[in-house]
């Protein structure tokens, strides 16, 4: 039985993870379409899709809301789905703002949204993208019991960046420093100055010399404004963690046969398994198909100069195919017993619904292991 076919029939959440530039977003969309084909109401939550893919899915620039893939586009590609498939594009900043709006009191909210440390938390801070993607996943899944949610994730070189994101955001809110700072006794006008009083005034003086006093007081104002949200953040982060580890969820690790991507994916796989998370399959995308012996023979019958040109082309294609084949083989061993599926490199770039459909159909029908 094809492991992705099983996953699309039985799971509530499929998380596509892997390094950047391997076609993760495309495969996530392709899987959601197949979910619809199997009769399940499906949603794909994409992150930064290519413009043409976004328009194929009917996504406008204003994302963050799920919208059905337009019936007309489906019809145009000759696709008939027994269940509706929706798509959305995750807007990081907006999702953060919504999270704050949900969890903070009105007065708190204004202070948080205006603080420049919040700006960096919501956009630039390492792990904040991963955190908000997981947070959004929980929200989407809770709002759609019984449906299939396919989550595309930010390109992450290190699995731990992704899996630890909730923990790291919590760590930020719960460090000794934050706790200490946020004890009510210290909430005074001078909090910025007293902030580092633990180590004598040396720390405060030195830090303000390096980063400036204004920065320090902004930061303490931010932490103060965030105080009180800790409990709800912590609760949500542990719900997310529980959802990822539950039987509802499975991961699909997407990679390409390029050596660096492959190594990253093997490490990613090990990290997922070490955390006790279920990996339905490893998908190696964009594999160069190998050639048949008769191709070489028919090449010899060609007239010059075509023959030379064709032989060169064959050699190049064969070199790429051979490199991919041995790469896929060693990868299959490294991730065993997780099934490995390959998707051939399609000559056209997969951006329209028809191509998405073909890629997805190939995935759920392919036999594990082969090239």
């Amino acid at each position: 039985m094809n492991p992705l076919d099983v996953a699309l029939r039985t799971r509530g959440v499929v998380v596509c993870v892997g390094p950047g530039g391997v076609g993760k977003t495309t495969l996530a969309a392709a899987l959601a379409l197949q979910g619809g084909a199997l009769g399940r109401r499906s949603l794909v939550c994409t992150i930064d899709p290519a413009r043409r893919l976004a328009s194929a899915l009917g996504l406008s620039e204003l994302g963050n809301v799920a919208r059905p893939i337009p019936e007309a586009s489906l019809r145009g590609a000759g696709i008939r789905l027994p269940a509706p498939v929706e798509a959305m594009m995750l807007d990081m900043k907006q999702s953060w703002d919504e999270l704050i709006a949900r969890t903070a009191s009105e007065e708190q909210r204004e202070r948080i949204l205006a603080n420049r440390f919040y700006q960096s938390l919501s956009t630039a801070l390492a792990g904040s993208q991963e955190y908000i993607a997981l947070e959004k996943l929980w929200e989407l899944h809770s709002a759609r019991p019984g449906d299939l949610v396919v989550l595309d994730t930010p390109p992450t070189a290190h699995a731990l960046d992704f899996l630890d994101a909730p923990a790291r955001i919590l760590e930020f809110l719960e460090t000794d420093a934050a706790r200490w700072l946020l004890t009510p006794a210290l909430r005074g006008a001078q909090v910025g100055l007293r902030l580092f009083g633990l180590g004598g005034n040396l720390i405060g003086r030195t830090l303000s010399r390096i980063v400036g006093m204004q920065t320090l007081s902004d930061l303490s104002a931010f932490l103060l404004a965030m105080s009180g949200l800790n409990a709800s953040f912590r609760e949500r982060a542990s719900s997310v963690r529980a959802l990822l580890a539950s039987e509802t969820t499975t991961f699909v690790l997407v990679t390409s046969p390029a050596p660096e991507r492959r190594d990253e994916a093997v490490r990613f796989h090990a990290a997922l398994r070490a955390q006790g998370l279920d990996v339905a399959a490893v998908v190696v995308n964009q594999v160069h198909p190998s050639l048949a012996p008769e191709d070489v023979a028919s090449c010899r019958r060609l007239p010059e100069p075509l023959r030379t040109k064709m032989e060169l082309t064959l050699q190049e294609a064969q070199a790429l195919a051979a490199a991919d084949e041995s790469g896929v083989e060693s990868m299959a061993q490294a991730v065993s017993p997780t099934p490995l599926l390959t998707v051939p490199r399609f000559p056209e770039q997969v951006h329209d619904l028809g191509a998405l459909w073909r890629a997805g159909a190939h995935l759920v029908a392919a036999a594990p292991g082969g090239v």
Partner: protein, 301 residues
């Protein structure tokens, strides 16, 4: 002919996965071979660029690779330490303050601080002098990928507008002066003949200019030169599999051509590096690309 080879700070950037580290390594290797003392700087990249040249991955300490070539992987914690030690000069104070776990957790949330100290270290190498002359003739920066590159290189510009006068503002001022001086700094954006990298390259080129950095070249990696002529496909009608292979070569060559056309709208030379048919990148591959790069940058074909 582009001005890139004559610059002292050569910034190499592009979308993730297009071959930035390869191009940085190739460029640094060629500069060093031409007799210029060259420093290959990665920005928290794990030392990959040095490894591509067949050397052990670069660490946060300056390391000699070969001939006139050195390399370093600039990492936030180490760069912070160096910066602070320059400012306060006392190791003991540094430890008391910056190795305090409370302080560490706060520092992580100060926007742009890691970027500032890393960029500061790289620009500082430009100013390093010994015996009356600069220590480094050329510094090649393997810069972060697109979005991150703009925020990384844009740090001085942003900070200049927000920082109150003081030590950090002074630091940032001279960093900014070095970066926007077209006689000192030049940028090359690496691209691929594919839709997303092309779009990102165009955005990045525009973004770099908005930051007042001199864009000197676009490097089109994995380019395919035309091989077949229209009649060839017809002649292959009897061998459909070969025809498909040839057709895909024709398509790739077409993609390269259209990428080059679109990228030329940035008004800088587009240098094509040949696609290599091998698994992954190695020293031999970097050398081939280095020669192509050099001849492209010098105005050859």
């Amino acid at each position: 002919m582009t001005r890139l080879l004559g610059k002292r700070l050569l910034v190499v950037t592009g979308k993730g996965g297009v071959g930035k580290s390869t191009v940085s390594a190739a460029l640094a290797l060629e500069l060093a071979r031409s007799g210029r003392r060259t420093l290959l700087c990665e920005v928290n990249g794990g030392g990959r660029a040095a490894a591509l040249l067949g050397h052990p991955p670069a660490g946060p300490e300056l390391g000699h690779l070969e001939g006139e070539l050195w390399s370093v992987d600039v990492r936030p914690a180490e760069a912070m330490r160096e910066y602070v030690l320059q400012k306060i000069r006392f190791e003991r104070v540094y430890r008391a303050v910056f190795e305090n776990p409370l302080v560490r957790s706060f520092l992580r949330f100060i926007p742009s601080l890691p970027e500032t100290v890393m960029l500061g270290k790289i620009v500082w190498h430009l100013r390093q002098r010994e015996g009356g002359r600069p220590v480094w003739d050329a510094v090649v920066m393997d810069a972060p990928a697109t979005g991150h590159a703009l925020s990384f290189l844009g740090v001085p510009e942003v900070l200049l507008q927000t920082l109150p006068p003081g030590t950090m503002a002074e630091e940032v001022t001279w960093m900014h002066q070095h970066l926007v001086d077209p006689d000192i700094t030049g940028a090359a954006v690496v691209s691929l003949p594919e839709e997303l990298p092309i779009v990102e390259t165009l955005e990045l080129g525009t973004g770099l200019r908005a930051l007042h950095l001199a864009l000197d070249a676009v490097v089109l990696n994995q380019a395919t030169r035309p091989r077949f002529v229209p009649g060839d496909l017809a002649a292959l009608a009897g061998a459909p599999r070969l025809r498909a292979l040839a057709a895909s070569h024709v398509e790739e060559a077409g993609r390269t051509q259209s990428a080059a056309d679109r990228l030329s709208s940035l008004d800088v030379p587009v240098i094509e590096l040949p696609r290599l048919y091998q698994a992954g990148m190695d020293r031999a591959g970097v050398e081939i690309l280095g020669r192509a790069l050099l001849s492209g940058l010098a105005g050859g074909t």
